[in-house]
Amino acid sequence: MTTPLLQVEDLRTWVASGDRIARAVDGVSFSIERGETFALLGESGCGKSLTALSIMRLLPDAGAIVSGRVRLDGTDLVALPERRMRDFRGRKIAMIFQEPGASLNPVMSVGDQVRETLARHLGLVGDAADRRVLELFDAVGIPDPERRLGEFPFQLSGGLKQRVMIAAALACEPQLLIADEPTTALDVTIQAQVLELLRDIQRRSGMSMLLITHDLGVVAETAHRVAVMYAGEIVETAPREIFFSRPAHPYTRKLFASVPGESARDAPLAVIRGAVPPLWQTFEGCRFADRCDRAGEVCVQVVPTFRPVAPGQSARCHLYNDDGPGVVTETAPAAVAPPRSVGSVAPDTLLEVEGLKIHFPIRKGLFKRVVGHVRAVDGISLTIPRGRTLALVGESGCGKTTAGKGIVRLLPATAGAIRFEGVDLLQLDQARLRRRRRDFQIIFQDPFASLNPRMRVLEIVGEGIAALGIATTAGEREARVDMLLAQVGLAYDMKYRYPHEFSGGQRQRIAIARALAVNPKLIVCDEPTSALDVSVQAQILNLLRELQERLGLSYLFITHNISVVEFLAHEVAVMYLGRIVEHGNVHDVLHSPAHPYTQALLSAVPRIDAADRRSVVRLQGDMPSPAAPPPGCHFEPRCPKAKVACAQAYPTEVTLSAGHRVRCILYPE
């Protein structure tokens, strides 16, 4: 066997933050074989991206490699002078980044951005370069490459931009491609396209790939070997099959257990208690010890070494010491909640939305004439019973967030009715609406933008109590805040702190407490966990479900994450370009999706479980603009099953079974 292509040995990269030095990458070693896809998996802040940047020697100004070796084909990259290193970048190692939008130069045509690499390393200019760029665009599946050459990044969709990035990276046929969360910013159907492209290219060219990701599903579908990073160290490496069937490190096991999904539906998700330790300290024991269920005395006293635990599999854990307890047996999660049924009795309706339209005018010209409308929400109807969860599922730009904000009257509706306990919210005047507002609240996606950084928790949570007159005196208000904080699992003395002192998960708890403060009956949850790591997401999902059971809340749960839907929802509505295309209870929609879009969406979700994997229904192109939707069925231009009739009229709603409705002409009435 030949030597590995890339060997990283004891890499240490430190980053200055404030007055402190964080040991962000602290002794990382791994190797990548030729033609292999090696996945580096970890939650945010574990040092995986900095490891990648260290290999490229593209660290931010505040960071530096303090020791270690990175050997590519025998050459130690760390020891190279910067000038020689430049010959490697883009030629032997190429890299693509998470945000294709920000990673392309906005004022340079995409053709030029690829040509630049060709000119730098291969000396290709003029027609030869043009031909090569066209070839590359063709290879990465950019339609109509001649036209795209002169276009600028802002004219391309997210998926196309990432394809351009890949084309530029592949231009000089590098030996190693580093992909840093290449699909995290993309929608799930686009993610499926890009992952397939990467797999395909790798198969054809035989290059190696270092895939940085936080998504177990992406790893399962793409990687040959996996390394898990935690707090600056690699805690486990294994071939994919072993990794998914027999994860060794307690942290890895916990990660698997905290992924929501249908199988987890009947019990709370496993959570990892506590938080990642700060990295400016020197560790005396295992970095995971204080969050680990199985930690013993040795774990806090002795730094564990990285040792083989099975053929091809190694872990950094004392459980695998010669004198340790050995391979852990799986402990069954304690069943706390009773099994949840799926829609047996239909309770009474809390919210009924009928034909809701939210259009934004497009204004132009001197007098701001309205020249068109963005039909963000274009006539949706849905109902939410008391104590139930309706998941509103769709990709970015489909109008689901607009719909959520419209329902709680944060955006003006253009038409339709929102009947809350029989009262149409759209007909209420300001004063009466204000009194009604205590019944419906909203939780937002970004835990950092949703709390005013200049207010203490007490004021944040107390704002609604004061505004809607829930408690009259300051003492009552404070007592209520204490109660609410306890309800969401925070200590009451945290109320004197400011948001920046909390982690993302804690902030989301505060946001939930704020919404609960006015005793709402309905909470619109707008992607409340999509900015969180999977282990933290588990905590929030558990909390939301527990609160629902205790307080009888109804949720309108807006999300793009199918596994969260499986875990939490009773009913599902799938949205595409401003309209609901399929609606039904969670079991029906997820197991026998009727609409071609739902089918494509579900098939594109990367699955951890290989048995669960279905063949991906590949969608063409991107979602059209809601300012100019297609004349017939909105999905018709991309639909693999489209017929001529689809382009003529928007299909009417067809009921397939009790409560399962779809808008598609494939299903005759």
Partner: protein
């Protein structure tokens, strides 16, 4: 000397006092709120910022002393029943402190520390004959019997005395600072002073104390000697340049601060309204500031000041003294500078508010039915206040510089008011004299330079601390080498 005097509060005095009070209140409020205090702690850790703040504080003390005015009662008429009459002259605390400087004019130019005039005059000899010679000054070095022999020794002695005094004062200040630091950290005095001298405290107290020492060693000897000499010389009409320079400080400070006070309400209210309400409110406010900012600043100021001059000339009876007249003009200049300078901040605040009002915490407040004004006050304003502070501090030095230009152009402060601008304007023509008269210009240059430089450095420190956009943190390459060595040695220890 009789005690009769009445305080005079000029318009700008009132504003200066109001400003000091509001800064004090803001500081008090800030100190009680951790998130507000944190960035200022960062300012306090910046060496250049704290050194600059020390120098600025010196300027502000002079300016503040010069902002407390009164009129002396005239002697005589002390009978009961008759109202006391007051001297028309309005004096400030600074005027009294610097009494000899103010009351000992020469006839015309004299060089710094000179004992003779700068130009030849016809001197009448005791025997009645007349010669053209450099006459002795009326004040500068008057106490010297033989100036040629004694002057240098006298000055050296004065300097030594001054430095000795400065050192004593400095040691006292140092002990006080160390004592406070020790008391606050509950450590022993000796320990803290050791840390201070080795720069181990988190605030750069050492640098502050060094700055203070340098300031004291420069200013105390000057102040001592200014009682015997014209340390910076005299100008064309024989006024002491040191005194003029000190008086100019207040003018610069007032322009730099009061203008901000004038413009803040406009910028804040309009900027927040435009950004929050959008729609036609935004259109109107945008129209307003585009129109105002389209007029070149100097020309708008010139036009307004000319118009005010006409007004003041036709209503000369309103102003009962030269001081009041000059003060009114200064106030008006601040007003008009404020009116021309709010547009920039307003535009910034509008943009920021547009962004903020789309943030989720504003939506969350709306979901509780909180009204727009309350949202602006509680959610928007606290999140833009750093922009206001940064703009204010950055704008200060620009305004000080602008005053000089405007006064030169003839639309600045009243010619009777001392300012850096009027000093430069008066002195620039004297550069052509032979031998050259350089001291007025040099004095104005040095003081203005130090004032503006320290204001800029302080502003930089404030901006770095308050600007939430994370700036690239620069770590010098040497630091990394040190860290790498440390890492390696730690690894070796671990290996053993």
């Amino acid at each position: 000397m009789m005690a009769g005097f009445r305080p005079v509060i000029l318009w700008t005095d009132a504003l200066v006092l109001g400003l000091v009070a509001s800064v004090f209140l803001f500081a008090l409020y800030t100190s009680r709120h951790e998130h507000l205090r944190a960035p200022w702690r960062k300012v306090a850790r910046s060496t250049s910022g704290m050194v600059a703040a020390t120098v600025l504080l010196g300027f502000f003390v002079v300016g503040f002393l010069d902002s407390m005015h009164w009129q002396r009662a005239l002697p005589g008429d002390n009978k009961a029943g008759t109202a006391t009459r007051y001297a028309p002259e309005v004096l400030s605390v600074l005027d009294v402190v610097a009494e000899p400087l103010r009351t000992h004019p020469e006839r015309t130019f004299s060089a710094p520390f000179a004992v003779h005039a700068h130009t030849r005059e016809t001197v009448t000899l005791p025997d009645g004959g007349q010669v053209r010679d450099f006459p002795r000054l009326k004040f500068g070095g008057r106490h010297l019997a033989d100036p040629e022999r004694d002057r240098d020794a006298d000055i050296s002695l004065g300097v030594l005395q001054g430095i000795a005094l400065a050192v004593v004062a400095w040691i006292a200040a140092g002990a006080l600072v160390t004592g406070i630091a020790a008391a606050r950290s509950r450590r022993r005095f000796g320990e803290v002073s050791g840390d201070l001298w080795h720069g181990r405290l988190d605030t750069p107290l050492r640098a502050v104390l060094i700055t203070l020492g340098v300031l004291l060693c420069l200013m105390v000897p000057l102040a001592l000697l200014s009682g015997r000499y014209h340390v910076f010389g005299t100008d064309k009409v024989g006024q002491d340049v040191f005194y003029l320079t000190l008086k100019s400080i207040r003018t610069g400070l007032v322009i730099g601060t009061v203008t901000t006070l004038v413009m803040l309400p406009f910028a804040l209210v309009l900027g927040l309204m435009a950004g929050y309400f959008r729609g036609w409110v935004d259109d109107v406010i945008q129209y307003l500031y585009t129109t105002l900012s389209s007029i070149p600043g100097v020309l708008l100021i010139a036009a307004s000041v000319l118009m005010m001059q006409v007004y003041m000339d036709t209503h000369a009876d309103i102003f009962d003294s030269v001081t009041r007249r000059a003060d009114f003009r200064l106030l008006f200049l601040c007003l008009i500078l404020g009116v021309t300078s709010w547009t920039g901040l307003c535009r910034l605040l509008r943009g920021e508010t547009l962004k903020l009002r789309e943030l989720d915490f504003v939506h969350a407040a709306e979901a509780f039915g909180v009204g727009p004004w309350r949202i602006m006050l509680r959610h928007v304003l606290p999140n833009v206040i750093h922009i206001v502070i940064i703009t204010t501090v950055l704008g200060f030095s620009g305004l000080v510089l602008a005053e000089a230009v405007l006064s030169y152009v003839g639309v600045g402060v009243d010619p009777a008011m001392n300012s850096f601008g009027t000093m430069i304007n008066a002195a620039r023509l004297e550069m052509a004299r032979e031998p050259i008269v350089w001291w007025s210009l040099a004095a104005a240059f040095v003081f203005m330079f130090v004032l503006v430089l320290s204001a800029n450095l302080f502003a930089d420190a404030v901006r770095d601390a308050l600007d939430p956009r994370i700036r690239a943190q620069f770590v010098r390459p040497g630091v990394w080498q040190h860290l790498a060595r440390e890492a390696n040695s730690r690894l070796r220890v671990g290996a053993r």
